[in-house]
């Protein structure tokens, strides 16, 4: 087994545990590279099928390329797609910094969607290497009322025995990509030929379209609070080579992460992915 085989195998095991142990399960699809890999892994785990709904919690402010991608692959991959809206900016916590309030729209939208559909398990594509509070996550993470994360008192989780019995009114977050790195994701996208949105690539010289020359997105969020990085990487190989060398963190272009010391921690404690 190669390192990629091992990562894949662990994720497949986690997805199968979630499917066996959780009654009302849904997978979050943000349309980014990680959640595409996650859907791909589900098709591996369930032999070409995705046997639960795939949910896009839509802020309404994504790039137009992302909506086109969603509509195309929902059909092509035969997904049971659920799209749920987010409440307006005005409904968010005014004590949060402005960009974090944009992030909180998604938390509130997710909370409402979970209540509406009665989901008891939400599969999310977060990774430990993305961000420091995510590095402290469990694979099966119990969430209290309203999706709250009690990060100061997480249950033990070892030997791939997961805490899957949960009190009524709560739900589980399942994180099948927790052990992957950004570089692993790109290696796997290349090996498997997984489609990703072209916003991740710098345009080739003279290529038509609205992408800026010498720029690409490393991480995708709402269009108004996500910024491209300087890069000429126009192919998967070039992206991998760039990431092998870089020391810039992946979410450097995501404004909501670092407005204040604890802004992102607060977002995550109340249920952000």
């Amino acid at each position: 087994m190669t390192p990629l085989d091992r990562l894949e195998s662990q994720s497949v095991y986690i997805l199968r545990e979630a499917f066996n142990r959780i009654d009302r399960l849904a997978m979050l699809w943000s349309l980014g590279k990680d959640s595409n890999v996650m859907i791909w892994l589900a098709k591996k785990a369930f032999f070409g099928h995705v046997p639960f709904p795939v949910m896009h919690v839509d802020t309404g402010k994504k790039f137009q390329e992302m909506y086109a991608f969603r509509d195309r692959y929902a059909k092509e991959w035969n997904l049971n797609l659920i799209v749920e809206d987010c409440p307006p900016y005005a409904a968010t916590d005014p004590t949060l910094p402005p960009n974090a309030r944009s992030g909180q729209r998604k938390t509130l939208g997710l909370r409402a969607a979970i209540a509406k559909h009665g989901f008891t398990g939400i599969i999310a594509g977060i990774r430990r290497d993305e961000e420091a509070t995510r590095a402290k996550e469990r694979v099966f993470s119990p969430r209290g009322d309203a999706g709250h994360w009690d990060f100061k008192d997480q249950p033990p989780e070892f030997w791939d025995q997961f805490n899957t019995d949960l009190p009524k009114g709560t739900h589980l977050r399942v994180h099948p990509l927790l052990h992957w790195t950004e570089l692993d994701i790109w290696h796997y996208v290349r090996r498997e030929g997984i489609p990703v949105i072209d916003l991740y690539f710098a345009p080739s010289p003279g290529e038509p379209g609205r992408r800026q020359p010498g720029k690409r997105y490393r991480s995708l969020g709402d269009e108004d609070i996500t910024f491209p990085i300087d890069s000429t990487a126009a192919t998967l190989d070039e992206i991998i080579a760039e990431l092998e060398a870089t020391k810039t963190p992946e979410r450097a272009g995501r404004a909501m992460d670092r407005e204040t010391e604890d802004a992102f921690e607060r977002l995550r404690a109340e249920g952000y992915m």
Partner: protein, 632 residues
């Protein structure tokens, strides 16, 4: 860049950093990440800003202490992971909390590691969690350990102090049964002996931390052990019925004849399924999450264990677990939990707490009624259902278990079967094409002619409790009263029917199985059959009861161990105490008392005559056919 330099991700080694609170674990991690150039851009400045905001000197621990509460209190609450890249290899560094309150988080972090670094503060020396973490590493199955003696700058880089800590701690690890590969003196804060050899400690000739890491090896995948594939689920998304699970040990090939335990059904592997693969695989090995199809439709459920036919797992409903307890309430004897072994989950009862361990000095504190939070103990666990499992020393992956309180995991442990038999042979009917032939003479005809029913009086009790004495006396008394009666006695049967059996737990189980079957046949033939065997295991007696059905009467010949040892009619206890008889019931092997015996005869309180009278009364009231009933 040419494609060859873009080869797939490099292999990585997972290292957990453990040790007592405040001995500098998070600082060491920060140092390692920084000194190997693995720190992301902007992170150093971010940490600096956090420290300035708090008016404190630069604190490396803030790299991993992601929670505001951790930074404000200066304490690591939960485990975190960070990636470290060196020229030779990538590492996942797992930071584990050292505070006693957060042992559950330390276990969570450490369980996935290939190797561990145990940190010890040179000034404070070995503390409670330094020892306890070492003990837990061993239970978690981590065998590669390096010890880092930190804060050498605080003790003026004194070699004598270092030697003292090194000797004491390696002695402790030896006591648990594993050694430390290296003991390295460092100052994490100054970066001494982390990636660069320190001028301050020229007396030290061993490796730096980064050199020690380079010498550690990834845990080899157990492909050469017997096959174990616990069934995770069964899918029927299309025309295929696919059994899925992860191969924990060994290899599996298309065409293999596989055995499902504990159902003991067999089938051949028809195919190994995949999606988006070039060609369906014909072989799979340990670590792979697979899906297989069979050549015949068996009813298979989650929790069954697939093995090859000639090397199956143990089957039992009782075993000893050495466990660490994480629950907030103590674990208590007699309490019920949920047991998980691989993908199987069943209710379990804690039958007994055999011994508590003192993890400070590794002493055995004997039996107890409770295991306190963070206690380590050997407990006897009993389930109703038969389990398929292995002993941890042979197959760690299927030889470990967790307990759950119905919501959260509260314990982890490893399986030890010493003193308990593998029940597999007793459960397996080997011959096939058997049909039950019906007698023309029924039990009622025999009873009518004899004037009494047939049945089994199953005497059980410790050696020296008086079983044989009572059996022979009861036989004589009943015979004189006109009963057809016969005694099957342990020593006599072992000279003939069971001459090929020894005293291993398996042979003892087989000895009892044969006696149970013979007694049932005698009872069916109309005899009152008295069996006189220690028969210490409930599972064996339950099988004997199943063989004779309602004709079975369990008679507990009760006397406590001290009384029996004092009587010692055959001198066996003295030999057992000298260690000359291994696995002697009551001394070095368990006796499981009956839960619901039909009759209890306490030979400590009753004389032989009184005991015989009680048993004969019991027989007179249960076995005689009333004359009127005979005539009807």
């Amino acid at each position: 860049m040419p494609r060859s330099e873009l080869a797939a991700p490099r292999d990585q080694l997972r290292i957990v950093i453990v040790g007592h609170v405040d001995h500098g674990k998070s600082t060491l991690v920060g140092r390692l990440i920084h000194d190997t150039g693995s720190l992301p851009e902007g992170k150093f400045e971010a940490i600096k800003a956090m420290c300035e905001r708090r008016g404190m000197p630069f604190e490396w621990a803030f790299l991993m202490d992601a929670f505001q509460a951790e930074r404000d209190q200066g304490i690591t609450i939960d485990t975190a992971q960070i990636w470290l890249r060196t020229r030779h290899r990538d590492y996942v560094i797992i930071d584990a909390p050292g505070h006693r309150e957060f042992i559950k988080n330390m276990v969570t972090g450490a369980a996935t590691a290939d190797a561990a670094l145990v940190l010890i503060d040179a000034a404070q020396g070995i503390q409670q969690q330094s020892r306890f973490h070492g003990f837990l590493l061993n239970l978690l199955g981590i065998r590669q350990v390096a010890v880092v003696v930190n804060k050498m700058d605080m003790i003026g880089f004194a070699q004598a102090r270092f030697d003292e800590i090194r000797d004491a701690y390696t002695r402790y690890l030896d006591g648990i049964g594993f050694g430390a590969r290296y003991v390295i003196p460092v100052s994490a804060r100054n970066g001494d002996n982390i990636t660069e050899r320190a001028a301050s400690m020229r007396w030290y000739e061993g490796p730096t931390v980064i050199e020690a890491l380079a010498s550690l090896r990834p845990t080899p995948r157990p492909v050469d052990l017997p096959l174990r594939l616990p069934v995770q689920d069964v899918y029927k998304f299309d025309e295929r019925r696919i059994i899925v699970g992860r191969i924990e040990t060994g290899r599996l090939r298309v065409g293999d004849r596989v055995l499902f335990s504990p159902s003991n059904k067999t089938a051949h592997v028809a195919g190994i399924e995949g999606w988006n693969v070039v060609a369906p695989p014909i072989e799979a090995e340990a670590g792979q999450a697979v899906g297989i199809t069979l050549d015949e439709q068996l009813f298979v459920e989650r929790g069954a264990v697939i093995s090859l036919h000639d090397d199956p797992p143990i089957e039992t409903n009782v075993f000893r677990g050495r466990l660490f307890w994480l629950g907030r309430q103590p674990l208590a004897a007699g309490q019920d939990y949920r047991l998980r072994v691989a993908t199987r989950e069943v209710p379990v009862r804690v039958q007994q707490i055999e011994r508590l361990y003192d993890t400070e000095d590794l002493s055995d504190r004997g039996g107890a009624a409770e295991v306190p939070r963070h206690g380590v103990a050997d407990v006897i666990l009993r389930t109703r259902a038969i389990l398929a499992l292995d002993e941890a020393h042979a197959l760690p992956q299927t030889g470990r278990f967790v307990l759950s309180d119905g919501v959260n995991i509260v314990a982890g442990g490893i399986v030890d079967m010493k003193g308990y038999p593998n029940q597999r042979d007793a459960l397996t009917v080997k011959a096939s094409n058997l049909y039950t032939v019906k007698h023309r003479i029924g039990a009622e005809h025999r009873a009518t002619r004899n004037g009494h029913r047939g049945g089994v009086l199953w005497f059980t009790g410790l050696s020296g409790s008086g079983k044989s004495t009572l059996a022979m006396a009861v036989e004589q008394e009943l015979f004189q009263r006109g009963y057809n009666v016969y005694v099957l006695d342990g020593d006599n049967v072992r000279q003939g029917l069971n001459a090929n059996l020894g005293f291993s737990p398996e042979d003892r189980a087989e000895n009892i199985r044969r006696v149970g079957e013979v007694a049932a046949l005698f009872a069916d033939a109309g005899l009152i059959t008295i069996t006189s065997f220690i028969s210490p295991y409930r599972a064996d007696r339950r099988r004997a009861r199943e063989a004779a059905k309602e004709a079975f009467h369990e008679v507990y010949v009760r006397a406590d161990l001290a009384t029996c040892e004092q009587r010692d009619p055959k001198g066996l206890y003295r030999k057992a105490r000298r260690g000359e008889i291994p696995e002697f019931t009551g001394i070095s092997a368990p006796y499981e008392e009956p839960e619901a015996a039909e009759l209890i005869v306490d030979t400590k309180l009753l004389s032989v005559e009184e005991s015989v009278a009680r048993i004969v009364d019991y027989v007179e009231s249960r076995f005689i056919i009333a004359r009127s009933a005979v005539r009807d």
